[in-house]
């Protein structure tokens, strides 16, 4: 599901996404009846840096928004919904020469194989459990039976203590670190995988050496 210009959506619409994003299902109550429907989907939210879109240095234009407009716009992006978003990426307008012949580009076929392999690892790891994939693994089970390396755990706890991450966020980073490890063929998520999961979440740049560990496979 792709919501473009997501900050312009009504607040109640945005809030309604919380439950399906957290649980993978949605409960609709009408009168005396309640029905719970499956709602496990990948949600992609797109937003601009500000209402006019020029609050960056790369568009060649100056931002014309009032501070209050930018504040209102960004409040939506910073709301509780954001705590449930695992990957944030800042995209720049195309530069001259983008997409040249030497840019590393994997075909969808290559990526499909890589993702299928990562999913197979997860299914094998969770054999006999009630779930199959990292995204579905309960947090208690993850912490007790599929922990991170001690240094990686320290990094994650540090991010929570410093206020960079909420408790809910830390569970999601733990899951994402497993996914990074599964993609890279790493047996247990270490500091590199946790740092990558944190950078994916915050929108920080990614390290090329970690990306290469994934794409070289």
């Amino acid at each position: 599901m792709h919501l473009d210009e997501f900050p312009l959506f009504r607040t109640d619409v945005i809030d309604a996404l919380r439950e399906p994003l957290e649980n993978g299902d949605i409960t609709v109550a009408r009168g005396e009846e309640t029905v719970t429907l499956p709602a496990r989907t990948m949600v992609v939210l797109a937003s601009n840096p500000c209402p006019c879109g020029n609050n960056v240095t790369t568009t060649g234009h100056l931002c014309t928004c009032r501070p209050s407009e930018i504040r209102d716009y960004n409040r939506r992006v910073r709301g509780p919904i954001v705590d449930r978003i695992d990957i944030t990426r800042a995209l720049q307008p195309p530069a001259p020469g983008d997409g040249d012949a030497h840019e590393r580009r994997d075909t969808s076929e290559t990526i499909r194989v890589r993702v299928a392999e990562a999913r197979m690892r997860q299914i094998a790891r969770f054999r006999g459990e009630e779930w199959r994939l990292n995204a579905q693994a309960p947090s208690a089970a993850l912490r007790e039976r599929w922990p991170l390396t001690p240094q990686a755990e320290e990094t994650l706890v540090g991010a929570v203590v410093s206020g960079r991450l909420t408790r809910r966020g830390s569970v999601r980073v733990h899951r994402m670190a497993w996914t990074v490890a599964d993609l890279a063929g790493v047996v247990t998520p270490g500091t590199d995988e946790v740092m990558t999961a944190l950078a994916l979440r915050s929108g920080d740049p990614l390290r090329h050496d970690v990306l290469e560990a994934v794409t070289a496979r």
């Binding site: 240095t57 740049p205 990614l206 390290r207």
Partner: protein, 385 residues
């Protein structure tokens, strides 16, 4: 003197310089100095007959018996390589600055000659910018390097870098993406490619630009050779941009060479929390490098005076900015909602009623206030500001 003996002279000089480049490690300041003083042929003669200084003869003696310059030149030609020496029409004069620059890490001096692969010519490099940085870079570093390279290449500047992964690769690609000329300066012989997975990119650079090395075919890269190579990157360019360097990055050695050559050094900032930008930030903080955030800013630094002067970024001027402070004081006293009479506005502004009346008339002409229902209020145009 006939022209054939002139050609023989050039060929003898070339063979002597091939010999020296095989015998000495690149950037050995003793070799560069003696070669400048005696000439390459005389230096080779003295080495062969043990008439050079003891230390240098001993060093050279380990390799000299195995050197076959004619054979190496022939083999190189088969691989599409040429050996360019000072005096050749193609020799880039920008390298001469190295003769006067003091050594760094015991490397220095102009190269004895350059092994070159590619259809372009070295003397096309009068307008070149070096873009260097970590091999272990982030997506921010490579995106920014490619963007800057694309901008300067579009303006006709060649892009020089080290042909490595990370920032180097992004700089070469950014230049080629807009059809620019790019030069990869290597720290190994051009018969091979490091890292091996890089063959396609290096081939593409040779096709549209140049691949260059001081080292003869067959030479492997070593740490010292990287340090020697860095001085060539700095010397081939009019200025150097460092994009992402950790505090101990090799890119900082290239930055030091740029300083030794008295050429502009520029640094691209990153997040203050990023170790990948800490080396760049140190360069800027110490005053060695100028902070740049775009290709246009790079051109402003290296370009000829006035050629690339950029307009200062500033917010668009608003009607309000053109008002006198007294008039702004009156404007601030005009209500948004219920209209206020002139004396009310004067009282709120703390300005005499005669001047307030005159001010309100002027603001009305600007379309910022309107009079209705017995009082003044702000117009929609005023609210939009």
């Amino acid at each position: 003197m006939t022209s054939s003996s002139g050609l023989d002279d050039v060929q003898a000089e070339r063979l002597a310089r091939v010999t020296l480049s095989l015998v000495f490690e690149p950037g050995d300041p003793r070799a560069a100095k003696l070669c400048a003083e005696l000439g390459a042929r005389e230096l080779v003669d003295r080495l062969r007959s043990d008439r050079a200084a003891a230390d240098i003869t001993t060093d050279a003696g380990t390799r000299l018996p195995f050197v076959e310059p004619e054979r190496d030149l022939e083999r190189a030609a088969v691989m599409g390589l040429r050996f360019v020496i000072p005096g050749d029409p193609e020799w880039p004069t920008c390298l001469d600055g190295l003769a006067a620059a003091p050594p760094l890490a015991e490397r220095g001096g102009p190269p004895l000659g350059l092994w070159v692969r590619g259809a372009r010519r070295l003397d096309e490099l009068s307008d070149a910018i070096a873009i260097v940085g970590s091999r272990a870079a982030t997506t921010y570093g490579t995106d920014t390097a490619a963007r800057i390279a694309g901008t300067v290449a579009t303006d006709g500047w060649a892009v020089i870098s080290g042909g490595a992964y990370g920032v180097d690769q992004a700089a070469h690609r950014g230049s080629m993406g807009v059809g620019g000329m790019t030069v990869a300066v290597m720290a190994h012989g051009l018969d091979r490619t490091y890292p091996a997975g890089h063959v396609d990119l290096v081939d593409a650079i040779a096709e549209r630009g140049l691949v260059v090395s001081e080292l003869a075919p067959g030479s492997a890269p070593t740490r010292i050779r990287f340090l020697a190579r860095n001085r060539l990157i700095a010397a081939l360019a009019r200025g150097t941009v460092v994009v992402e360097a950790k505090v101990r990055s090799g890119a900082l050695n290239t930055a030091n060479w740029t300083g030794r050559l008295h050429r502009p050094l520029m640094g691209v900032p990153g997040p203050v929390t990023s170790a990948f930008s800490a080396g760049v930030h140190a360069l800027v903080r110490s005053g060695a490098a100028t902070l740049v955030t775009s290709g246009d800013e790079v051109l402003e630094v290296v370009g000829r005076v006035g050629e690339h002067a950029l307009a200062e970024p500033r917010a668009p001027e608003r009607v309000r900015d053109r008002l006198t402070v007294r008039l702004q004081q009156v404007l601030d006293a005009v209500p948004v909602g219920r209209p206020a009479p002139t004396d009310g506005v004067a009282r709120t502004a703390g300005i005499g009623i005669v001047e307030a009346q005159r001010g309100l008339d002027k603001l009305e002409q600007h379309g910022l206030v309107s009079f209705a229902e017995g009082g003044w209020r702000l117009t929609d145009a005023a609210l939009a500001h």
